[in-house]
């Protein structure tokens, strides 16, 4: 390897070093992160008031990260059929929430509660300084599921109250 480099130098074949452009600290993005950023999956919104939709809104603009994750649940089977996200945050935050929407689709609600931020971080090779992005994604999933469950309780409660008044 060394010898080849020396040979290249001797023959004057070394390419001039490409100068990196200035971005805060030098940090390389994993290609998964860049892929999710360039081709984001599942960006968009469902109707908040739809009873089959659960919405999780986590984070704060002051911290620089806000994630909104929405799940569409099939009422009979309790399975998540579709998911959408919108994120205000850095590339890692966008990628984390995009991955989260991909992973929740087609799973049962109880299953997605077991998704851990470490799994998301590993999939995206997030550096330590970006781990909070994956934490936020995990929180967003949990918040969305909770919101859906709360909604179900409310509609069921209202239906029960309706029944009692009728009866």
């Amino acid at each position: 390897m060394m010898l080849r480099q020396v040979a290249k130098k001797a023959l004057g074949l070394t390419a001039r070093q490409s100068t990196p452009w200035s971005v805060g600290i030098s940090r390389s993005y994993h290609e998964n992160v860049i892929d999710h950023y360039d081709n984001p999956r599942n960006v968009g919104s469902f109707d908040k008031n739809d009873p089959t939709v659960g919405t999780g809104l986590v984070g704060a603009p002051a911290c620089g990260d806000v994630m909104k994750l929405q799940i569409k649940v099939d009422e009979k089977t309790g399975q998540i059929v579709d998911a959408r996200f919108k994120t205000f945050g850095c590339g890692s935050a966008i990628a984390s929430s995009s991955v989260a929407t991909e992973w929740v689709k087609g799973k049962a609600m109880e299953d997605v509660l077991t998704i851990k931020n470490t799994e998301i971080a590993k999939h995206l090779s997030l550096p330590p300084v970006k781990l909070h992005c994956s934490m936020l994604a995990e929180d967003a999933i949990k918040a969305a599921v909770k919101d859906y469950k709360d909604k179900r309780v409310k509609t069921n409660g209202a239906a029960a109250a309706g029944e009692t008044t009728q009866a």
Partner: protein, 452 residues
Amino acid sequence: MASKVISSTIRRTLSKPHGVVFRRHHLSTAAAAATDYEDESIMMKGVRISGRPLYLDMQATTPIDPRVFDAMNDSGINEYGNPHSRTHLYGWEAENAVEVARIQVAKLIGASPKEIIFMSGATEANNTAVKGVMHFYKDTKKHVITTQTEHKCVLDSCRHLQQEGFEVTYLPVKTDGLVDLEMLREAIRPDTGLVSIMAVNNEIGVVQPMEEIGQICKEHNVPFHTDAAQAIGKIPVDVKKWNIGLMSMSAHKIYGPKGVGALFVRRRPRIRLEPLMNGGGQERGLRSGTAATQQILGFGAACDLAMKEMEYDEKWIKGLQERLLNGIREKLDGVVVNGSMESRYSGNLNLSFAYVEGESLLMGLKEVAVSSGSACTSASLEPSYVLRALGVDEDMAHTSIRFGIGRFTTKEEIDKAVELTVKQVVKLREMSPLYEMVKEGIDIKNIQWSQH
């Protein structure tokens, strides 16, 4: 073994298509059309781009002007003597080169050549000025005044002084980035040894009211130090008019080489300071060490050019700045300029795009080399301290991008930058829950966020 390697390398090169190894001339900063990724694409840090990005980060550094490069190269081969060698022609020639450069630098700022001390850059000059002056007068003067938007090297030197027992006042700035002159007046005490306020801010580009500040310092007889690294060669600088006692300068911000700068130290009335570098007493005892002849020569040539071309550059850059700002404002709303628009150096445009985060915007602007003041690009989750000092809202502080325009920037580059920026901002706003909420009419400031 070695011959095997050499022959295989030769074979490899001959079979590779021509044109992959050699890059274009470094001044060609235009980005190639992103059509064909095959031959010319560059892959670095997980990002693939076709051709080199547009360079719009002139506050970080500037490309060396070819005329400066020629002057430096010429001298490097022939004038290799040590300028402090008194006894032979080589030393005399090198010394002559350094003295010519000294005159060129002095002329740019309206000083005498005897007042210019060459250093390794503005950071060293700032350190020498702040620490050197205070150490010299430490028996009588215990207080330093500076601002919250200074360059890190000044702030860190002040912190160092605080640890040694000095007192430092960090003046806040108004929302347009300018110092409040009344606050400065009130902050000066009888034991104030130094006032340090930068002329042009590197992050937001505002120009401080230097003449008025100089007047206040003269009234109270306090030495006035200014970090003019971003100012010389760009706005007219006159050390007598501004009543400057010490001024830091840097070469690589005005199309000169990196690794050289200077400190102006006034002689009438004399400012005394303790040197940071001890040794043979070069540079009037204020900075020992062999002078970097070629670098200094480059610095001098850059100053000379700057003096001749300042007016033309200003017109050119101002036109480009308007083109950039108007181009972006035509297509986007929610664009805020950070810092005063009136008292500003035209080559620095720091913009905040509402509802879009800075680092994600930078990631999308891979084909434009710019810088951001956002939290994600620093190690902590805190946004830039300069934007904080301006009192910018937390969520806006995360979204700033700094565009730097210079002598070699072209109209095509600005147009392309506008196009790319608008495209990315639109895409990110579509992805942004904050933008969605605003469109629905929800007031973001009233929401209770779940903090982490």
